[in-house]
């Protein structure tokens, strides 16, 4: 039997039972649409987290104290970072081309009657390079010349909140009663998908924070920049070695934790990946149930058309002709469901994106895989009923009422 004839016979049979065909197709449509949407949701949140992390700077490395916690309580005082660590890394590391401490102070920045609840970050000039910030107007402070100087560089949100369109360069911000002179503004970086604003920042020399604001010699975090992609591992190992050597460290546990960009992305995305996986599996189960629906309807169809099968066999159809006919019907149902489901899934993803503002990404791979899974579903669930049909005895089948 030619393929065209086969297609014709199967389509005719499906059209003869429109309602039944529609309902079996619907089962697959719901399954596929759910899978597509769930995968889009997972992929979207993954991408948005990644973008956000990348906006920090692609080669960024962060060093933090290795808090040794038990039951949520700090059990053991941990080794602290200090300025000498920053200097040691800057002077000795070969896989690093920028390093900056990070000390933060929380408070209100005030100019006249305006105020802004912006965190004050004490950094060194390298920080701009590490986090991909650029100067829009004015200048960045210099580590040596502006050590402990009461100057600051501010982001666009702060400009908007405190200066309302005026040029802020040369003006003074009061932060915890200490006046800081604005010497530069930063280009806008926009906000991440989780609502944190990369432009709501005030940068000042770290020595200024250490001496004038928090009276401490401890540094919370050190940011560094590896010399390029692929050097992250070497750079982290090198930093760890430098920090241990300075302290003659012999304990088996590391005194600090050093994260690369990649590791940070993995840490943050692992939870959302798990959630996406669970949702996708649930959606996959609904696709499976749709497949069972096809199998059920094919069984009914075979039983109902026993006489037709008998006749076809009597006039020359071989077992495999009958098998192909029914298999083709089930595959047609599942592929129709697949196509409609994919369209519906893509549409649903767009609606969620527009209405709820969630990041949704429909990947080409998920579409192709869904389609392939539909085909497999049709063959898998259609096989048994079709084989049953193909093995009928023509005499018995013709006698069937």
């Amino acid at each position: 039997m030619s393929p065209i004839t086969l297609i014709k016979i199967s389509l005719c049979a499906l059209l003869r039972n429109r309602m039944r065909t529609f309902l079996s197709v619907l089962g697959i449509v719901i399954g596929v649409a759910a899978v597509i949407t769930m995968v889009a949701m997972g992929e979207g949140s993954r991408q948005s987290i990644k973008e956000q992390m990348t906006s920090m700077g692609t080669n960024a490395i962060i060093v933090m104290p290795n808090w040794n916690r038990r039951g949520g309580v700090q059990a053991e005082s941990s080794e602290m970072l200090e300025e000498k660590d920053v200097i040691a890394i800057r002077e000795n590391a070969t896989y690093i081309n920028g390093v900056s401490p990070m000390i933060t102070v929380n408070g209100q920045a005030i100019v006249g009657n305006n105020n802004s609840p912006t965190t004050l970050s004490g950094i060194s000039a390298d920080y701009l390079k590490i986090r991909n910030y650029e100067i829009e107007d004015g200048v960045m402070f210099d580590d040596a010349a502006d050590r402990m100087a009461k100057v600051c560089v501010i982001g666009q949100t702060v400009v908007k909140n405190l200066f309302a369109g005026e040029n802020p360069i040369g003006k003074t911000i009061r932060y915890k009663s200490i006046p800081l002179k604005v010497i530069g503004t930063l280009k806008s970086k926009g906000s991440g998908d989780f609502g944190q604003d990369n432009d709501d920042v005030i940068f000042t020399p770290y020595q200024t924070v250490m001496r004038r604001f928090s009276a401490t010699t401890n540094i919370r975090q050190i940011y560094a920049n590896s010399i390029g992609e692929g050097y992250a591992e070497k750079a982290t190992a090198e930093i760890m070695t430098i920090l241990k050597e300075r302290r003659n460290w012999t304990k088996p546990t590391d005194p600090f934790r050093v994260f690369t960009q990649e590791e940070m992305i993995q840490m943050v995305t692992s939870t959302s990946d798990m959630l996406a996986l669970v949702l996708t599996v649930i959606a996959g189960i609904s696709l499976f149930v749709g497949g069972i629906g096809i199998m059920n309807i094919m069984y009914v169809s075979v039983t109902e058309r026993t006489k037709e099968i008998g006749l076809r066999m009597a006039i020359g159809a071989r077992g495999r002709d009958i098998l192909m006919q029914f298999l083709f019907e089930s595959v047609t149902i599942s592929l129709m469901g697949g196509v409609i489901g994919i369209l519906l899934g893509v549409a649903a993803s767009q609606i969620v994106k527009t209405v709820m503002g969630w990041p949704m990404i429909v990947s080409f791979a998920s579409v192709i895989i869904s389609f392939a899974v539909c085909f497999a579903t049709g063959v898998f669930f259609g096989w048994y009923p079709a084989r049953k049909a193909s093995r009928l005895d023509p005499i018995e089948a013709l006698r069937y009422e």
Partner: protein
Amino acid sequence: MSNDLPILSIENLRRDFKMGSETVHALRGVSFDIFPGQFVTIMGTSGSGKSTMLNILGCMDKPTSGHYILDGEHTEKLSRDALARIRGKKIGFVFQNYNLLNRTTAVENVELPLLYNSEVSSAERRRRALEALDMVGLSDRVNHLPNQMSGGQQQRVAIARALVNDPVIILADEATGNLDTRTSYEIMMIFQELHRQGKTIAFVTHEPDIATFSERTITLRDGLVKKDETHEMQDAKAAFDALPPPETYD
């Protein structure tokens, strides 16, 4: 006619059915030949083995023992697929209850056997189906659905379907069983016309009346041939004309 080789030859055909612990002997050694162009009736009461006979002649069942040679081909040892091929190419079936596909037009029903023959193109298929419908006088019912036709018309579609693959033998199973006398005679007229054109026909029935329209009657009884006689063929057209006119209701 007896100079020709038989188109169909059965020899000492036996068919047993196992029913639980019992064995039923449906056919107990049947032998006969049918020659090309013959119009044969196979007669018998229910339980005589005529259905079993027909199933074997139609290559839908295999004998327990004995030989069945159709058009020079031994069928006893053939596989399921090979038997399907023979059914598709050498046999034309006409059933008691027509067995047309619902919601499928007359011409598509007639085309059906050719669908399973990949040598026939779709244009050729349509042409032959229309030709067959013309032979049974249904050129004006080509696109009608079975439920839009009378029983006689449906049976004629079924006959066209049996003709379309140009079989070596037409097997009819109680083909007039569901029809009234007038329509039965009309159908027999078609069979006699096919006989005149040289078709070989084996017609299974339990009505002696219908058997008179053929030229030879093989009577089965308890799984054996009881009688095999050649006789005068009664003209179906004359019998039809002799019937009282159908009652009309005004």
